[in-house]
């Protein structure tokens, strides 16, 4: 009987620990645990010296100071060599004046890409798609975004998600659709009838007992 071999591709899930790794990067060998205590955004790109990726790297470099203010580190990744990464970031700096300040994993073995589910064979069997993993200081995955090869990422949305997650953690609230810092936040829904009745007397802006907003 012919043996059927199936490769199971694991995808990390929200609320689970980020897969550990030790990887060669443009800033030396880094482990996931080196980032403990900081927020971390791991993002993959299909390949060095490609147009959309270059625009994204410039855009990531531009929001880096804002991310630093929020205690967030950035870590790029693609299935390219360190030499390729170094040549690319030097080229970007020479041609555009933008210095890439964060490390990039050279994942030639695809170990990290596979652990994080960054290779989607339907898009490409050899390149990583445009993934974004937002990992909290306890190294729990808090957000996963996947973009197709042809669509560059929205940096404003990435910053908005970081702000929303940090606001949720700090104030034990949720954030409504299209929320931006300074907007009203959503008060977590009550769990009992008594809490629902009390909720309506607390001075929140309520549409009904299950949807109340407040200012921070």
């Amino acid at each position: 009987m012919e043996e059927v071999r199936e490769q199971t591709i694991s995808l990390p899930r929200l609320g689970e620990p980020a897969p550990a790794f030790e990887a060669v990067t443009t800033h030396g060998v880094l482990k996931l645990e080196d980032f403990k205590g900081s927020w971390l955004i791991i993002f993959s790109h299909p390949a060095d010296f490609t147009p959309v990726c270059t625009t994204e790297f410039i855009a990531f470099a531009e929001i880096y100071p804002e991310l630093q203010k929020r205690g967030v580190e950035l870590l790029g990744l693609s299935v390219d060599s360190v030499s390729s990464h170094i040549a690319w970031v030097r080229n970007v700096e020479q041609k555009t004046g933008v210095k890439i300040p964060f490390p990039i994993i050279a994942d030639l073995s695809k170990e990290v890409s596979l652990a994080y589910g960054m290779i989607h064979p339907g898009q490409s069997k050899t390149e990583t798609v445009r993934c974004v993993f937002i990992i909290d200081p306890n190294q729990i995955i808090r957000t996963i975004l996947y973009y197709p090869l042809t669509t560059g990422r929205n940096m404003g949305e990435i910053l908005r998600i970081v702000d929303a997650l940090q606001t949720t953690d700090k104030h034990a609230v949720a954030t409504p659709a299209n929320w931006r810092p300074g907007d009203m936040v959503v008060v977590p829904p009550p769990n009992t009838q008594e809490m629902a009745e009390e909720r309506l007397k607390q001075g929140y802006e309520c549409i009904d007992w299950y949807l109340c907003r407040k200012k921070l």
């Binding site: 030396g28 060998v29 880094l30 482990k31 080196d34 980032f35 900081s38």
Partner: protein, 77 residues
């Protein structure tokens, strides 16, 4: 290697970290503040300096090894 060059000598950031250990035992957090590098770079760098025999890990911190002290003396000469 970010802190040790292929010729075995510490890089600029590696030397900064070694110099930060001259005053005694230091945690990665303390060294990161002192040298102005991100904490992840310092954790990774101290691991490399330890593997190269230039620093030793002790409890939650790091200290210079005899080889590390010798190297700094040579660099200062």
């Amino acid at each position: 290697m970010a802190c040790i060059s292929p010729d075995g000598k510490p890089t600029e950031s590696g030397t900064k970290m070694l110099r930060a250990l001259e005053s005694g035992l230091g945690t990665p957090e303390e060294i990161a503040k002192q040298v102005g590098l991100p904490l992840f770079r310092v954790r990774s760098g101290l691991r490399e300096l330890t593997q190269a025999g230039l620093a030793n890990q002790k409890d939650d911190g790091y200290e210079l090894s005899p080889k590390g002290i010798e190297l700094l003396v040579t660099l200062s000469a």
